[in-house]
């Protein structure tokens, strides 16, 4: 979907209007901003929004603040465990979607989690596969040892 420059400018203006001064400064200088959440039982701890455009990643090691990233480079530097995929149900510029996500995260994180599709991030999956292989090899070695130590059948 392509949007006119005017639509994108309007969406950017509206997003900036709804950001706090600190968020606005961070977004304009670094391309992402932090969100102070009310929190919930299944809190996202830390969220990265970025590449591909509408993916939100959950980090397992840190609680606050929530950071919405809008560049793939920033996301690539992180090693998230879980990914959340969420996108808009309508044709709107990207900044409108970002604003909708920010407001939903701020006001109703639980609903945000309920809506988003959760998946294990590629980095975490690779680690898991490596771990599974390790377990498999350990299991095979244990079974071989056990077979070797078994008394012979009469």
């Amino acid at each position: 979907m392509y949007y006119t420059y005017e639509a994108q400018d309007r969406a950017r203006g509206l997003l900036l209007e709804y950001l706090s001064p600190e968020q606005r400064e961070a977004f304009l200088t670094k391309g992402h901003f932090d969100i102070v959440k009310t929190g919930c039982r299944r809190s996202l701890h830390m969220v990265l929004l970025g590449y591909p455009r509408f993916r939100v990643y959950r980090l397992s090691h840190s609680r606050y603040p929530v950071t919405l990233f809008t560049s793939s480079r920033q996301l690539a530097r992180s090693a998230p465990k879980w990914g959340y995929c969420i996108h808009s149900h309508g044709a709107v510029p990207q900044d409108d979607e970002l604003l909708s996500m920010k407001l939903l995260l701020e006001h109703d994180e639980q609903q945000f989690i309920a809506i988003a599709y959760r998946f294990r991030s590629p980095e975490a999956r690779a680690r898991l596969v490596a771990l599974d292989l390790l377990h498999f090899e350990e299991g095979a070695a244990r079974r071989a040892r056990a077979a070797r130590d078994l008394p012979l059948a009469p």
Binding site: Y18, G90, I115
Partner: protein, 75 residues
């Protein structure tokens, strides 16, 4: 006081203005647009003069600014 309803759209957002406390065509139009957006699962937020936002369920004719944010889907 002039109130404003902003609804996310393909044009960025669409604006509907009305005079707070005046029951006229503009207010009815804004209310209709609000309800139409609600039926389309848009999120509704009211923003006060100091920039604080809060979730609203119903159209508030005395609100300074209402934003209807685009609905989100997982997947």
């Amino acid at each position: 006081m002039m109130s404003i309803l902003k609804i996310h759209s393909i044009r960025g957002d669409d604006e509907f203005r009305w005079e707070s406390g005046v029951d006229d065509e503009r207010l009815r139009r804004a209310r209709d647009e609000f309800q139409r957006a609600r039926r389309r699962q848009f999120f509704a937020y009211s923003r006060s003069a100091n920039g604080d936002t809060q979730v609203i369920d119903d159209f508030d004719p005395n609100a300074r600014e209402i934003l209807m944010a685009v609905p989100l889907l997982g997947g």
